[in-house]
């Protein structure tokens, strides 16, 4: 029996639609399994394959003859030649017997007893992978399956060449495939290539045979019959000799319990709220981290900077590093930067002591104190500012029982409440100032809520050290700044050009300027080193703004002082080499021997000023004329304590002295126009009201008097008595409100509000002039 032609022995192969097997790789041999008995199952064909495995292998070993391929021709029912074209043409010369041997040896191990097991194995494998696989196993089984045709063992084997070809085919396929690819590349790309789309055959991927059959189908009858047979069989089983119950013991593998213990899985809940400010903070810290590094190096790219600083500060700039590496480092280091802001919260808690001493804490305390005081003083401050006072809604019930009685009283007092009166709002005082005599007060030119008060004795005996306190309206219980001076402060004035500069004149004749913005306790400059300083108490200092400088000196503000040694001096401040102000004083403007006590410059003409002396004379002088007075006004019999021009009528000035009188002058008349006397005590201070031309206030030892010349020129309109034992020493009008400040010898500065002072519309300048005119007329 020739081994070559196995084909002729078989019946004609017919390709039937009912049984199709996809052969992916063939060696020109196509064996279609005619599985009539096992319809619809490729499994059977595969099982047959396995059956023949051993047989083939045995037979293979014997064969070593090379035989040429023989072609297989497949005809369908109509006799058409539908032989599938071979996918490849294996080279008959390239025979590798080894391959076949290997395959054979692989399968030689299979014995008959293993057929079933292998069958099942291959069944499952091939049914899924059969049609498609180009893998070794798949193709080999398929090809072998194609080769096996009969269940009979005496089936002639395939020609070994085909087997070998199959084994070779695997490598050839790959080779061929590559060749095919190369061909394509060489072709012109412009060729129009026709593509035909054909419906491919149906591929069975999974076939699960149905368990039930429709009643209408053809097989229903046979299935029913079979079912009936089975049922009868089951019925007949009992007692039937055909069926014997037999038990069998199988070995049960000894079960083994195996425990595995793992570490407890700890669950941690992590939550975070991404708030807008949280993100902003993180971005800002990250941005700041990079921004801080960039100035340190002069490189252009940020990642390099980052890498150099974050990783190793000592590493030399490695520009030769590839870009990729730097960026990778940068990304690592930038992520480290990202990490850093989140490290911050884990710092250890700051020491509570340090916290308490920090600036922020003091600032907070400061604000807190002010707010508390605002709560306390709110009605008073509102009255000061002439705002309507807010009634605390919760405090109304408390007032109810007294309101009734008040209402009764108020009807009686309606008229009396309309009389002008001083209402005490509050007082600036603290334990520091108690016992000191208030000698002078001045408002800050820029911040009208800031008040500087100087404390010092007037008398030469029992001199204490002087005190300057800067009070803020927002805190009447404690001064904002406290400066102590060696000798009593007799006068002070705020500069207009430099609002934080405060000039202070003292009892020992020295003048100093302080900077109230800083917290230093020492003056900025001091006149104690000056050669020409005053030797007697300085009674008044004032910052005067000269419009035109006299004799080539600079324009601007200068400090003028008058002292008991008879000099009115002008002080200059010049900057030294080391930026310390040095003082230079020009020659004295007055050289009279009479000790000066007060002075006032003309409000519009800064060349003219008035000076009052201890003898009671008022001298009108000019800055440009040092030697002589221009005029002298003599009326007072005692030392003059205050001279002040009227802010509205430029010809009128007031003077007060210890002879119990206040005199109203017009500068062209050498006798006073009006004189005011109310009590028999020295008048320490007098001041025009900044709002009305006819109103001025005066302070004598025991009382405060507000004079309204429009109402009466004989008596003060408002009189307020001081507390017993306390002398009132100074007076200051508040600039924008209807309040006055009165300083006394106990260190208190009381704030009073002028109530019900009906002066009339406007500044009353005309009224004042009328009064003066009528007075003069009546005198004549």
């Amino acid at each position: 029996m020739s081994t070559t032609r196995a084909k002729p022995k078989k019946p004609t192969l017919k390709v039937t639609p009912s049984s199709r097997v996809m052969n992916v790789s063939t060696s020109g041999v196509l064996r279609v399994n005619h599985s009539s008995t096992y319809a619809r199952s490729i499994n059977a064909s595969v099982s047959r394959k396995s059956f023949s495995l051993a047989a083939d292998s045995k037979i293979l070993d014997k064969s070593s003859v090379q035989t040429p391929k023989h072609t297989v021709q497949v005809f369908d029912e109509n006799g058409k030649d539908v032989t599938p074209q071979p996918l490849y043409q294996p080279d008959p010369a390239a025979v590798m017997s080894k391959h076949s041997k290997i395959f054979a040896s692989d399968t030689s191990g299979g014995t008959m007893s293993d057929f079933y097991s292998t069958a099942y194995q291959t069944t499952t494998n091939a049914s899924f992978a059969g049609p498609f696989t180009r893998s070794v196993f798949g193709s080999s089984t398929v090809s072998r399956g194609s080769q096996s045709t009969m269940e009979s063992m005496n089936e002639e084997i395939e020609d070994p060449s085909s087997k070998r070809d199959i084994s070779i085919s695997l490598s050839d396929v790959q080779v061929r495939r590559e060749e095919v690819k190369e061909l394509i590349k060489e072709e012109m790309l412009d060729d129009v290539v026709d593509r035909y789309l054909i419906e491919s055959e149906t591929l069975w991927l999974l076939h699960m045979p149905a368990v039930s059959v429709s009643v209408d189908s053809e097989e229903a009858e046979s299935v029913k019959e079979r079912n009936n047979l089975y049922m009868e069989l089951c019925k007949n089983r009992m007692g039937n000799d055909k069926y014997v119950e037999r038990s069998m013991q199988t070995f049960n593998g000894a079960p083994k319990t195996k425990d595995v213990q793992s570490e407890a899985i700890t669950m941690v809940d992590a939550a975070t709220t991404a708030t807008t400010w949280d993100m902003y903070d993180s971005f800002r810290s990250a941005g700041l981290g990079e921004a801080a590094l960039s100035p340190d190096t002069d490189k252009a790219s940020v990642p390099e900077i980052v890498s150099n600083h974050r990783l190793d500060p000592t590493r030399a700039p490695e520009r030769t590093m590839s870009v990729i590496s730097t960026t990778s480092i940068a990304s690592a280091s930038s992520s480290r930067i990202e990490m850093e802001p989140f490290v911050v919260p884990s710092e250890d808690e700051p020491d509570p002591e340090l916290v308490l001493q920090s600036e922020k804490f003091q600032q907070d305390l400061f604000v807190m104190e002010r707010i508390i005081l605002e709560n306390i003083y709110q009605p008073k401050l509102a009255a000061y500012r002439q705002l309507p006072t807010l009634e605390d809604p919760d405090s109304v019930p408390k007032v109810v029982p007294t309101v009734v009685s008040r209402r009764e009283e108020s009807s009686l007092d309606e008229e009396s409440t309309l009389t002008p009166a001083l209402e005490r709002l509050w007082s600036f005082s603290c334990e520091l100032t108690s016992g000191h005599n208030v000698s002078s007060m001045a408002w800050n030119k820029r911040n009208p809520d800031l008040l500087a008060v100087g404390y010092g004795q007037f008398d030469f005996k029992d001199q204490k050290s002087g005190l300057i306190c800067c009070w803020s309206l927002k805190n009447p219980t404690w001064p904002e700044r406290v400066f102590t001076c060696e000798s009593g402060v007799t006068t002070l004035d705020f500069s207009a050009s430099n609002a934080s500069q405060l000039a202070v004149g003292m009892h020992d004749g020295s003048i100093a300027t302080y900077n109230v913005e800083s917290r230093e306790k020492t003056p900025v400059i001091d006149s104690s080193d000056c050669a020409h300083k005053h030797t007697s108490p300085v009674w008044q200092v004032r910052w005067i703004d000269h419009e035109r400088g006299a004799s080539g000196e600079d324009k601007g503000e200068t400090l003028i002082s008058v002292s008991a040694d008879g000099r009115i001096s002008k002080w200059f401040l010049r900057k030294g080499l080391d930026c310390i102000d040095k003082e230079k004083k020009s020659e004295a403007l007055i050289s009279r021997q009479a000790p000066g006590l007060c002075f006032d410059f003309h409000p519009t003409d800064s060349n003219i000023y008035l000076a009052g002396t201890e003898e009671g004379h008022i001298h009108k002088c000019s800055c440009s004329y040092n030697e002589q007075f221009l005029e002298t006004y003599i009326a007072h019999k005692g030392p003059l304590y205050r001279i002040t021009w009227s802010p509205f009528c430029s010809d009128v000035f007031l003077s007060c002295s210890s002879d119990w009188t206040i005199q109203l002058w017009r500068q062209d008349l050498f006798t006073p126009v009006l004189g005011f006397t109310s009590t028999q005590s020295a008048v320490y201070d007098v001041m025009w009201s900044p709002k009305w031309a006819t109103v001025f206030g005066a302070v004598n030892e025991g009382r405060v008097e507000i004079w309204d010349l429009g109402a009466s020129i004989l008596d003060p309109t408002i009189v307020s008595l001081a507390s017993p034992g306390v002398k009132l020493t100074s007076l200051l009008f508040a600039t924008e409100t209807d309040c006055i400040l009165v300083g006394d010898s106990d260190g208190q500065v009381c704030v009073y509000q002028l109530k019900n002072l009906t002066v009339g519309e406007g500044t009353q300048v005309a009224a004042l002039e009328d009064i003066i005119g009528s007075t003069l007329a009546s005198q004549l």
């Binding site: 400010w277 808690e349 807190m368 219980t477």
Partner: protein
């Protein structure tokens, strides 16, 4: 010390019932249960208030918090490290 004087002055003002300075965890003055309560509750409230303010504008920050109630006024000055609380009865 500067802050001690100011603190003492605050305590002597009219109507001030109590002052508490709290650091992030504990208290530094006045150890009693009310203080503990105040500190804890106000801490949470200031956190919420600050979060609110900064959510609207991240460049802004809370500087002061005042709670006016029927009986008292509670004033809180918050900071990262501490809380300054003053309780005042202003209508005395």
């Amino acid at each position: 010390m500067q802050f001690e004087e100011t603190l003492k002055r605050i305590q002597t003002h009219k109507g001030v019932i109590g002052t508490i300075v709290v650091n992030a965890e504990g208290k530094t003055t006045l150890d009693n249960s009310t203080t503990v309560q105040y500190a804890g509750l106000l801490h949470q409230l200031t956190m919420k208030a600050r979060s609110t303010v900064r959510d609207i504008d991240p460049q802004n920050d809370l500087t002061f918090l005042r709670i006016r109630s029927k009986k008292h006024e509670i004033m809180v000055a918050p900071d990262k490290e501490y809380l300054l609380i003053v309780i005042q009865n202003p209508s005395e």
